[in-house]
Symmetry: C2
Subunit: 404 residues, 2 copies
């Protein structure tokens, strides 16, 4: 069967008019003789509205009931989409997670799909029906409703594509695709036609707006081709696929930047085993996410400096934890708030020497000072002053010819 999975996000089904538009898009696939499996999120705003209610009921609202409550959002959207398709003359119906069923494991609010029963949906597809499936949810082995913590409806779509061996999973959203960099920050940013899972994962700060990284990872593991495209503009989007499917790789595919980071340097830390762990353990326990970590070579064999970045929102808590914790010894704490992490990402850099040099040279030419450097196989990140962030994006976009 030529199955495609189409996933519609909250903004794509945010109003009645948009739902009518979505039904047209679905109908067009059906007319091209695809077997169409649809997954929908809740209409935008609805989930927050429900969350607000639960918070008013209790600041510590039951996790299990939270899932019962929130799952209604997708149910409403799916019944309306199915209703519109029926209105348009198609055979369609909503399928709720318990009807299929979609089985999850893990805890409430944070479950993961581990099994989707195929028999009913396959039969329905063979009968010419268009199933509209509630995203973001499943049931557990106790037959209770669960919601999918990470990835939400994207994760549902990827898993449906996996279990139904779909040709493609199309993520309809409010952007036209993935861009070389954030178009709001750099107007000459260009839509990327095709990108590898690995690059997409590294472009988290861009990618998160389009798709949750956990879903990209799931797609990568299951080799599912994802197309990200707009529900509102009839243009081809971005294909996320495996490296070997991509011909003519550019050296660099995209550039990401962060703008809420802070730099923390502990000066005069004892240079002995276990010191780094003693610093990061209390931070991790307090859910403070540490990003770039750099430790300089010890100058005298006794003391060293340790630098890392965190979200600026976590800065005060971090300061308190470091100062209060008697196990952490350092001479001085240096904090810097207005920093920005710029990353260039591309599988091409693996086989192309000199990328690091070109990046540093390009920044140096614009007199942009690099504070911290960190690299992975397909990404080079540098920390710079936030005020230089836009200039850096611009010069690197030109350097690697991303607008070509």
């Amino acid at each position: 069967m030529k199955i495609v999975v189409l996933k519609f996000g909250g903004t794509s089904v945010g109003t009645i008019e948009k739902i009518k538009k979505v039904a047209q898009i679905i109908g067009n696939y059906k007319k091209k003789n695809y077997k169409v499996v649809v997954v929908s999120s809740a209409m935008s705003g609805v989930t927050n509205e429900l969350l607000k209610k639960s918070n008013l009921i209790s600041e510590n609202f039951s996790d299990a009931e939270h899932d019962v409550l929130l799952s209604t959002g997708e149910q409403v959207a799916c019944s309306l989409i199915a209703g519109r398709l029926i209105h348009n003359g198609f055979k369609s119906r909503s399928w709720l997670a318990w009807q299929i069923p979609i089985i999850t494991n893990g805890s409430y609010k944070n479950s993961r799909i581990y099994q989707i029963s195929k028999i009913k949906i396959i039969k329905y597809l063979k009968d010419g029906g268009i199933p509209i499936i509630t995203g973001f949810q499943g049931i557990n082995l106790d037959q209770r409703i669960t919601t999918i913590g990470r990835g939400g409806s994207d994760a549902s779509a990827i898993m449906l594509a996996k279990f139904f061996k779909a040709l493609r999973c199309v993520i309809y959203t409010d952007v036209e695709g993935v861009y070389t960099t954030d178009p709001n920050k750099l107007s000459k940013a260009k839509k990327i036609k095709v990108i590898s899972y690995e690059e997409m994962l590294e472009m988290a700060s861009l990618g998160a707006k389009v798709m949750q990284p956990v879903s990209i990872q799931d797609a990568r593991l299951n080799r599912i081709n994802i197309e990200v495209r707009s529900s509102f503009v009839k243009k081809s989007g971005t294909l996320i696929t495996k490296k070997s499917n991509i011909k003519n790789n550019k050296i660099i595919t995209g550039i990401s930047s962060t703008h809420n980071d802070s730099k923390v340097t502990l000066v005069g830390v004892k240079d002995k085993p276990g010191v780094a762990a003693s610093i990061f353990k209390p931070l991790s326990k307090n859910s403070i996410n540490v990003d770039m970590v750099v430790q300089n070579i010890s100058q005298n064999g006794k003391e060293t400096d340790l630098t890392f970045t965190i979200k600026t929102d976590d800065l005060n808590r971090t300061k308190k934890i470091l100062k209060d914790n008697k196990n952490i010894n350092f001479r001085k704490l240096v904090l810097e708030k207005d920093v920005s992490k710029i990353s260039i990402i591309g599988v091409g850099m693996i086989t192309t020497p000199g990328v690091t040099f070109r990046m540093f040279q390009a920044l140096a030419n614009k007199k942009i000072n690099i504070k911290v450097i960190s690299t992975s196989e397909i990404k080079i990140s540098v920390l710079i002053d936030k005020k230089n962030s836009k200039k850096a994006l611009d010069v690197l976009h030109n350097e690697f010819k991303l607008d070509k």
Copy 2:
């Protein structure tokens, strides 16, 4: 097990504050060692909001999807109630129709409960839990969501009381109980402490605001004691029970009045078999509800006059149907818009002679003219000028000492 079923209507759970109040009421039953089964409607306004959406999607929205859509309303209310009970330290959870399951038959939008599986709920009650069950819905044998056409959540509550052999079914609503007559029309109307099913059914025009007649009928058939009381005021309500449970029956229990009726008289109808049927068939086909019907004795053996009442909203359609239908022969059509039906209801009248006379005399004393009379075993209805309606309520309320 000492089981009580508590049902909360839409206005009772209309806001977060009201849901908190409802959770207190439920908790109080639990503290008195009852096994409490709760049924809830959707928060008031929600169902209409959902219906509006479906109408915008299609004027002919799918019945099956209508049920999927509307059932979310009760799901939201139940999760919030359960969440509040958990917050208050009770063991509670929402139970959706498919989880129990509650099995219905009949068509979408208009199904009826025919089986409720007891095993899971009984186990949960024995474990000390308070189940919060979605009213107004079930699933059919195709495992699809259905809604209960007539009676809604009241019907769910009665059926739960039946299957779980509850001591009592308490209907929490926005009125304090059933009154001798509508308190908005007659301020001296008194709350009735106890009333029989039969009287309650006859008091449809009063009763409908409190409970759907179909649910009262279900309660009667299954001998379920119903208490109707307010969620907002801590006062005892009205007990609806079987006649033999009621001591010291009054002759008359209540008085109802209608105020949107019209009288239709066909003058000079052929007096032969099948004539009445030929008149009422097209009305029935057009869903026009005919209430009081009176046919005078034929004066000359050839012609007669036929009078009946309908809702004034249906008057124009009725006129058109009667005039357009060539099978209906009459000399003249007399329409009267501003009429009111006054009914006195009471099981006591079966054994008490002279009630009819007392009613007519009391009205005559106030110079109120009676246009049409119709009687049943426990009800006497008269049609009068609408302008006399309040005066008639008042004089009859006094005559039968309903304020005592």
